[in-house]
Subunit: 454 residues, 2 copies
């Protein structure tokens, strides 16, 4: 598939040539002509891990036709996928049987997360987790660790060694969970602060203050989380919100003075621009409006929402023009049943269909790339092929199974219109096998073992 | 993985040794102890394509310990999967974008099915379709062809050449579709009759009288279908029922004299023991009761129901003790998004969760095997490892992806209880890669190319 041209007259430059798809606008708000960018024969020029130039090959060949170039025939190159909500310690309990949210936490999650007191165990799982992310084409994620600070260290060490842009944080949890996985308001504050000072903005790493959810944090602990956000205004906040009907009712009991679930976070100062709330299935109109005003984001996690029977996210309400809320896709492994954002997009399509809504393939792929970058306030450096951004990208094979090969032509689609059907087959039929290779800062970081020789 | 023992003192006998799972009762009605049969170290003895003996290896080794034996270490052997509703001509339009049922038929299905006038094209697709079935572990299916008799010939020829037990029929369709894919009441009758005489009970093949659905058949044509069932009492009837809200409303307009959708079929004599109705999402209580009394079956097609946004099937109502209805799983390709009954079981679990119901892994695997055989009235010869049944079975790898290998131990589960969690991971995370090999009448018919050497 690849060939190298051997006249590097600008030694630090290299390029990828092939079909490229990315987004320059939000296809929920503007037309495909204004949002989808597709070059059937494009060139991506890289320098020092960043994008130096990007466009049609014919237009760039005069300047860059002679630099070392990897040619990807019969493939589609996209920005790396961005997973806006996932739990690395739950890698081993993916697909645990038979419960809805609160019982699932008690029966599976808390016992498993207890093991991450052991740094060596945490390191081992962190490596497996990152292998899974890359083999599914995910290059950046917003990640729950556990209550143990060493589980955060293990994760960030592993991510740093691979040059990955990752956001993570220590779980804060001081009630309604076994003592073995609880901290206190004060220890959560102190430990989180130390981790922020150690890891936040170290290279490509970012820290997220991470109360699990309002049920397992006292109001005192939520206030401490708010203090951290004031002290460190550019760290993230990552939690769960309105996932399950029973959960919403319980929060109302626990916070009788609050207007609703979101308000429990809001009164602690946790509803801000870098705040990401997973799920948001049972939000009121007023809560959508508040999230819009605060510029907070929702992580839409359809495989998890279906697997736990939580419900159907109102994507069209989040993407309204009146009160637009930033939305990314989240796998939510281990309640999510796959690390693949393609399979997650498949389930997002089905959730939309059940709600009599349409989700176009480009809207879904936007959510998995630039939409995720915007949700994580990383669109200045990730999410598409704009010049100057970090060169994290993936090479996709749209004929990665016999059935996809039967369905899809090997030739590059000639236009966005012709690409629509194949892009749709990618999100409906694609899985980890569709990810042929992954590049981080312009360097090959993963190559699928099944790759067919050519 | 395999080894042969070389002392065939009974030359026509051979055996498989490994872990075996099948069902001897219905886990929706009786306990797992009474329905799930599991041998961690079992022996399946085969003679002339049939099951000669089956049980724990220790109990059978005295009699059969010396015959040629294929040993499957670290694998699970199950009866072949049975798909109770699928369209072979739609193989190439799997994952077609953006419509619900009626628009999807007009935009994608009718134009595609028109191509099956060409026998060579039909033959090519039939081979691809059967390749897909086998590579997903499906050994028997109830199959829609198209309106063209030659499309039925192409399918049955291909199935016969592979010794497969398949049920199929010519679509009957004389209104509300393009003329190019319509027949008439009389021609449908004559052509179906000729196909029954040619193919029904030829070897392992069976014929199904196949009106597409009440919208595309006049009452006159449905009556003709009923005549065929009277003339040939052991052929099947295969159609669609109550899939989509708009469809149900349209049927009421078209059949004003009928009490409801099912009644349009019932008045034509189409609601019988060998009648299989796909979907049944919007059935009334009375319709469930009528299906129960008639001993008809429903094909539950969750990936299709979610993909087209049709709705959530009330499985618990079909499996009630008061009015039990036979149920099998259907992929419903091309509205279904996968040929895999494992992935279909995954979606069935999610449909149940959204309805606040539980579907156990054994219940799901029952539906895919013995449940499907019962729905198709084939339980006398297929569905489990009872002595005397046909030896169609599959060898499953519960560690077929890196993530499943991380999650599941290589050692055989020691008990049904220990198997539960792994069986669940199989239906939630498994896909075609989990199908290592497929045997038809005791002969190897498919082997996964990815199989790891050992």
């Amino acid at each position: 598939m690849t060939r190298l041209q051997d006249q590097p007259h600008q030694p630090s430059l290299k390029a990828m040539r092939g079909s490229f798809l990315d987004f320059v606008g939000d296809p929920f708000y503007v037309s495909e002509a204004e949002s989808v960018r597709y070059f059937p024969d494009g060139l991506l020029v890289l320098e020092d891990g960043k994008i130096k130039a990007f466009g049609a090959y014919d237009e760039l060949k005069a300047d860059y036709g002679e630099i070392p170039t990897t040619v990807c025939a019969e493939r589609l190159i996209m920005p790396g996928f961005i997973d806006t909500h996932i739990h690395y310690p739950q890698t081993g309990i993916i697909a645990a049987y038979g419960e809805q949210l609160l019982e699932w936490l008690d029966q599976y999650v808390f016992p498993t997360e207890g093991k991450f007191h052991d740094l060596d165990y945490a390191r081992e799982v962190a490596e497996t987790f990152l292998d899974q992310l890359l083999s599914n084409g995910t290059t950046t994620a917003l990640v729950f660790a556990t209550v143990f600070p060493q589980s955060v260290d293990a994760f960030f060490e592993a991510a740093e060694a691979r040059n990955l842009c990752m956001i993570a944080g220590k779980v804060m949890m001081d009630r309604n969970a076994p003592a073995s996985v609880c901290d206190s308001a004060e220890s959560a504050y102190q430990e989180s602060k130390a981790l922020i000072q150690k890891w936040h903005k170290k290279g490509r790493l970012r820290y997220a203050v991470t109360p699990r959810f309002a049920i397992t944090s006292t109001d005192e602990q939520l206030q401490k989380a708010g203090e951290l956000l004031k002290e460190f205004p550019d760290v993230y906040m990552h939690t769960h919100l309105s996932e399950n009907v029973k959960e919403v009712a319980w929060v109302k009991e626990l916070f009788p003075a609050c207007e609703g679930y979101l308000d429990a976070y809001d009164q602690a100062g946790l509803v801000k621009e870098r705040s990401v709330f997973a799920h948001g299935i049972h939000l009121t109109d007023g809560e959508f409006q508040r999230l819009s005003e605060a510029k907070s984001a929702i992580a839409f996690c359809p495989t998890s929402n279906l697997f736990l029977g939580s419900g159907l996210f109102k994507l069209e309400q989040a993407k309204s023009t009146e009160y637009p809320v930033k939305v990314g896709l989240g796998t939510d492994v281990g309640a999510g049943t796959s690390f693949s954002l393609l399979q997650t997009a498949n389930e997002a399509y089905k959730v939309a269909q059940l709600r009599q809504q349409k989700l176009s393939p480009f809207q879904a792929l936007f959510l998995a790339t630039l939409g995720g970058a915007k949700a994580l306030c990383l669109e200045d450096r990730l999410g598409n092929f704009e010049v100057g951004k970090d060169a994290d990208f993936i090479v996709l094979d749209l004929r990665s199974t016999p059935l996809m090969a039967f369905r899809n032509s090997p030739d590059a689609a000639k236009s966005v219109s012709e690409l629509t059907d194949r892009a749709f087959s990618l999100i409906i039929m694609g899985d980890d096998r569709a990810i042929e290779s992954v590049y981080i800062l312009g360097e090959l970081a993963y190559k699928c073992a099944d790759t067919k020789a050519e």
